[in-house]
C-alpha cells in the first residue's frame, strides 16, 4: 500500500506536521533528519528527476549561507572582516546554513506533497467543510495549468502568423510579447467567467453537495493514525522540553543531550520515515508473495 492510498485526511495532517517541523526546528540533528528523509522520500516517489533537483538544492543552500552571513553580523566568533569592516561571524554563517537547509527540506517535502495530495483529494477534504469553498478552490487550482496551456496555444498561433516572441529585434519581440499577453488576459477573463457560470448552473454551490470520493476510513488507516499520533506526541514532548531549538545570537547554545533526547530523535526520524517504510514494506511483501505464484503451471 502506498502512502497515497491512505485516507486523504491522514496525508494532509502528515504533511502539515512534517513541513511545520522542517520549517520551525533549528536543532542540527532534527534538521538533518528532516533533510535526509525528505531527500530519500522524494527520490522514492519521483526517481532520477528528484535526485537531480535535490542535488541542485545543495549548492543553493551553501550560497544562501554565504549571502546571509555577508549581511548579518551578530555573534562573538569573528572569522574575518569584509571590505567595509563588518565582521563575518561563525554564528551568522551557521544560522544561514540552518535556514537554507530547512528551506530546502521544506521544498523537497512539498514536491512529494504535490505528488501525493492530488486536486481531487483537496476538493474532497474541503467539500466536507463547504461546497462553495470547494468550488472556488477547484477553479483556483485549475487556473494556473489552464493559463499555461492557453499561453502556449496563443503563442503558437501568433508564431504561425509571424508574430512569435522569437522573431525580429528586441523592440519587435517586446511588441509581440505584449500582443500575446493581451490576448491571454482577455481569454482568462472570458474563460474564468464561463467556468464559474457553468459550475454554478450544474449546482456546484448548492447546500449539502459533496464531491466525488472513493475514500473510506478502514483499519489500515486506523493503524496509521495511531502510529502517527504516537510519534507526533513524542516529538511534541521534545518541542516542549526545548530539545528542537538552538540559539545563535550571540553564541551558539544547545540544550544538553540526555538519554531522553535519543528518544525524541528516534520518534522524529520514525515519523519522517513512515511513508517511505510503508511503501518499501509493501514492495517487499509483494515481491515475496509473487515468488509463490506459479505463473506457468507445470504438468
Amino acid at each position: 500500500m502506498g502512502f497515497e492510498q491512505c485516507h486523504p485526511a491522514i496525508n494532509f495532517i502528515y504533511f502539515a506536521v512534517v513541513i511545520y517541523g522542517a520549517v520551525s526546528f533549528r536543532h542540527p540533528i532534527f534538521l538533518m533528519i528532516s533533510f535526509l528523509c525528505a531527500f530519500a522520500y522524494s527520490i522514492k516517489r519521483k526517481g532520477v528527476r528528484a535526485l537531480l533537483f535535490n542535488l541542485a538544492l545543495l549548492p543553493l543552500t551553501a550560497l544562501f549561507a554565504l549571502y546571509y552571513c555577508s549581511y548579518t553580523h551578530f555573534g562573538i566568533t569573528v572569522l574575518n572582516k569584509n571590505f567595509i569592516g563588518n565582521n563575518i561571524t561563525l554564528e551568522a554563517l551557521l544560522c544561514g546554513a540552518s535556514l537554507g537547509i530547512s528551506a530546502s527540506s521544506a521544498i523537497m517535502w512539498l514536491s512529494s506533497f504535490y505528488c501525493i495530495i492530488t486536486t481531487d483529494k483537496i476538493i474532497y477534504l474541503f467539500s466536507e467543510l463547504s461546497p462553495k469553498a470547494a468550488m472556488l478552490l477547484s477553479v483556483l487550482l485549475r487556473i494556473v495549468p489552464r493559463i499555461k496551456t492557453e499561453a502556449q496555444r496563443i503563442s503558437l498561433a501568433r508564431f504561425a502568423i509571424g508574430r512569435g516572441i522569437t522573431r525580429g529585434n528586441i523592440i519587435l519581440r517586446a511588441k509581440n510579447f505584449i500582443g500575446i499577453f493581451s490576448a491571454l488576459i482577455t481569454e482568462t477573463l472570458d474563460s474564468l467567467i464561463c467556468v464559474s457560470e457553468s459550475m454554478q448552473s450544474r449546482g456546484s454551490t448548492l447546500r449539502g453537495r459533496k464531491a466525488f470520493s472513493i475514500y473510506r476510513f478502514d483499519n489500515r488507516d486506523r493503524a496509521c493514525v495511531i502510529c502517527m499520533f504516537a510519534l507526533i506526541t513524542l516529538t511534541a514532548m521534545g518541542i516542549s522540553l526545548n530539545q528542537t531549538d538552538m540559539i545563535f545570537d550571540p553564541k551558539i547554545i544547545i540544550n544538553p543531550i540526555t538519554p531522553m533526547s535519543y528518544l525524541f530523535y528516534f520518534a522524529y526520524a520514525a515519523l519522517c520515515l513512515m511513508p517511505l517504510a510503508l511503501e518499501l514494506r509493501t514492495q517487499y511483501r509483494f515481491k515475496k508473495a509473487r515468488k509463490n505464484v506459479n505463473t506457468y503451471p507445470q504438468r
Partner: protein, 234 residues
C-alpha cells in the same frame, strides 16, 4: 449618489479609521486581526451594492482576475518604489465603480504583502490602496470624467502623489513616531514625498500604455455578460 456609495463613504470615513486606531494598540501579530476586520467592513457596501440579488460568480471572477493582475503589477517590476499596482487598481475602479475598486485594492495589498512580508502597516496599506481605487471610481463613474488615456494618466499621477501616498505616509506617523503631532505628520509626509513622485510617474506611464487596451477589454466583458446592465450593479 447611490445608497451603496454613501455606505462606502461612511465606512471609509468613520469605521475604518476607528478600526485602525484601535487595531494599532493590539500587541504582537494583532495586525492580522485588524486587516481581517478592515476587509469585513469593506465587504458590507460591496454586497449592499447588489441590492436584491447576491453577487454572481462572474462578478467575483472578474474581480479576482483584476486582483491577480494588480498583485503581478507590484511583484513583477523589479524597481523599488516604481510599481504598476496603483494604476491597475484605479483601472478597476474606473471601469467597475468605487466599490469594486476598493475591494480589489484592499485584497491586492493583503495578497501582495505575502511576497514582501506582512507587518503592522498591512491594514493601512489595504485602506490606502483601496482608497485609490475608490477615488478613481468616484471620479470616472460618478462624476463622468472622460476615459481617455492622458486624462487617466494625469489623474493617476495626482491621485498617487496627493491621495494614496499621504495616506500611506500617515501610517508611519501612527506606527513608528514617538508622538502624534503636526510636526511629526509633516516629517512623515516630507520623507515620503520623493517615493510618492516615483510611484506617481509609474502610475501615469502604466495608464498611458495599458490604460486604453485594458479599459476596452473590461468594457467588452461588461457588455458581453451584462455585468453592469442595471445601474445598481458593479
Amino acid at each position: 449618489m447611490k445608497k451603496s456609495d454613501k455606505l462606502l463613504l461612511a465606512v471609509f470615513l468613520v469605521l475604518i479609521p476607528v478600526t485602525l486606531f484601535i487595531g494599532g494598540k493590539l500587541p504582537g501579530k494583532g495586525y492580522y486581526i485588524t486587516g481581517i476586520a478592515v476587509i469585513t467592513e469593506l465587504c458590507a457596501p460591496f454586497f449592499a451594492s447588489f441590492e436584491k440579488s447576491k453577487p454572481q460568480a462572474r462578478e467575483l471572477a472578474v474581480l479576482a482576475v483584476m486582483c491577480a493582475l494588480a498583485v503581478a503589477g507590484r511583484i513583477v517590476i523589479p524597481i523599488p518604489h516604481f510599481k504598476a499596482v496603483f494604476a491597475l487598481i484605479m483601472l478597476t475602479g474606473i471601469s467597475f465603480g468605487a466599490n469594486a475598486g476598493f475591494i480589489v485594492g484592499a485584497a491586492a495589498a493583503f495578497l501582495s504583502n505575502f511576497f514582501y512580508g506582512q507587518g503592522a502597516y498591512m491594514p493601512w496599506q489595504m485602506m490606502a490602496y483601496g482608497a485609490g481605487g475608490m477615488i478613481a471610481g468616484f471620479a470616472f463613474c460618478n462624476f463622468k470624467f472622460p476615459k481617455k488615456p492622458w486624462i487617466m494618466a494625469v489623474f493617476g499621477f495626482f491621485a498617487t502623489v496627493f491621495w494614496i501616498g499621504p495616506l500611506l505616509d500617515c501610517s508611519h506617523m501612527f506606527l513608528a513616531m514617538p508622538e502624534i503631532s503636526l510636526a511629526s505628520l509633516a516629517a512623515s509626509l516630507a520623507s515620503g514625498f520623493p517615493v510618492n513622485i516615483s510611484q506617481g510617474v509609474c502610475t501615469a506611464i502604466t495608464m498611458l500604455v495599458f490604460g486604453k487596451p485594458l479599459i476596452e477589454k473590461l468594457d467588452r466583458i461588461k457588455l458581453k455578460y451584462g455585468i453592469s446592465e442595471a445601474e445598481n450593479g458593479l
